[in-house]
Amino acid sequence: MSACADNNLRIALLVHGKLDPAEEAQLRAHLTGCAGCAGELGAEEQLSRRLDELPRLAAPDDLRARVRDILRARRGSSSLLRMASRRLLAAGAIAAMLIVGTAVVLRLRSPRDPLTLAARQAVAEHQRIDAQRGLLSGETAGAPLRLRELAQRYGLPTATAFPGDADLQLVSVRTGSVLGKVSATLVYMDKQARLVTLDILPGKDVQIPPDRTRKVQQFRPVLTRVEPCGVVLWKQEGSLYVLAAPLDDQDLAGVFVKVRTHRT
């Protein structure tokens, strides 16, 4: 009996193909005359079959896109390009290997201005969310909780961000990625069912040159366009805010003031 109990580990090893030929032959000889051990083998094989039947989920397309953006942002960042050439090659090789699984082919890109890059990434995210707007209604109820979660998890000031109002309803809160950092993406919908997204991310290392800003009431944000959206970027208490919406400059400035001043 004790010998059979000792066989349990051998049987598990047999199922995984880890027994050497001599041990396997010895065990198989034993199995022909031992119903208990044969049953043990049957149970182990059945478990393996059940595990094999588990669904093999694929990463959703929008997650692939976000990972691709993370890798792009990092590959394009100036800090990476300041690295010595050998280290750059190694980093590039790793980034390329990471991308292999995403089936995305990247071209080497020249370093980009962080503000331009942030605007483009925010608009790309806006477009992705807009394409999935059918999912948003299911996320609205959980948005306030999600704001608090992201504030706690990432230390971003999401819990005090503009919570929406009758004209601009907060419909979803997601995580995104901008400039290779995790961002909180707040999604609002206006009365014309146009989506407005606000990305909030750590911004201590992002500089906003004064000569690129424009006066909007008492503030000086950066305003730019990445079609089909207008984009406003500003710094606030160490965070970078990126507001994107398919609005003209005047309407966009109005939304910016609402979002920027809601606590002041």
């Binding site: 478990l47 989920l57 790793i94 699984g101």
Partner: protein, 173 residues
């Protein structure tokens, strides 16, 4: 590679959105820590290691204890209370009851402690080599083997517990 990383995340955290967060954080961290990757090593094991570390960090920050931490508890007998479901989701009994009602292999897996669940996922679901799993989990191959053995025993026992429940449900119908 992204698919495998995503699947592991889905098994570790309770919601899809948390899995997405975990995968994104993993890739961000991977790029920050790219110098720690050994070219001769397995890229997916390195990513899995980062993902699992992020997950454990989140559990600890959220005040959740990770059952069966590496090391001391490895030698405990399987027949003890350690077969209780993982407590990551905050309600062990709920996890167990859900498993009993559903009675499927995925629920049984969720009922395992995290480090046993992960080794089953890597070795028996994703069919990684044990060496790769050991690399990802930062444990010797012998530990992978013992965890896998214990986890499979626990799975079989959980599944056998579910079977009578399912049968009684059938009779009710």
């Amino acid at each position: 590679m992204l698919d495998g990383t995503y699947r592991l995340a889905r098994w570790l955290v309770p919601t899809e959105s948390e899995a997405r967060d975990l995968v994104q954080e993993t890739y961000l961290r991977a790029l920050e820590a790219r110098k720690t990757f050994r070219p001769e090593g397995s890229m997916r094991a390195w990513l899995a290691s980062i993902l699992r570390n992020r997950f454990v960090d989140h559990c600890r920050r959220g005040g959740h204890e990770v059952l069966w931490p590496d090391g001391a508890d490895e030698s405990r007998a399987l027949d003890s209370k350690e077969d209780a479901p993982a407590s990551f989701f905050g309600d062990d009994e709920l996890a167990r009851l859900t498993a009993l009602v559903r009675g499927d292999i995925s629920r049984a897996l969720q009922a395992l402690p995290e480090n046993h669940r992960t080794v089953v996922l890597l070795c028996d679901v994703e069919h990684w080599r044990w060496e790769e799993a050991a690399d990802a989990l930062h444990v010797p191959i012998g530990t992978v083997q013992s965890r896998l053995f214990r986890a499979r025993r626990a799975l079989r026992r959980l599944l056998s517990e579910y079977a009578p429940e399912e049968a009684s449900l059938e009779r009710v119908r």
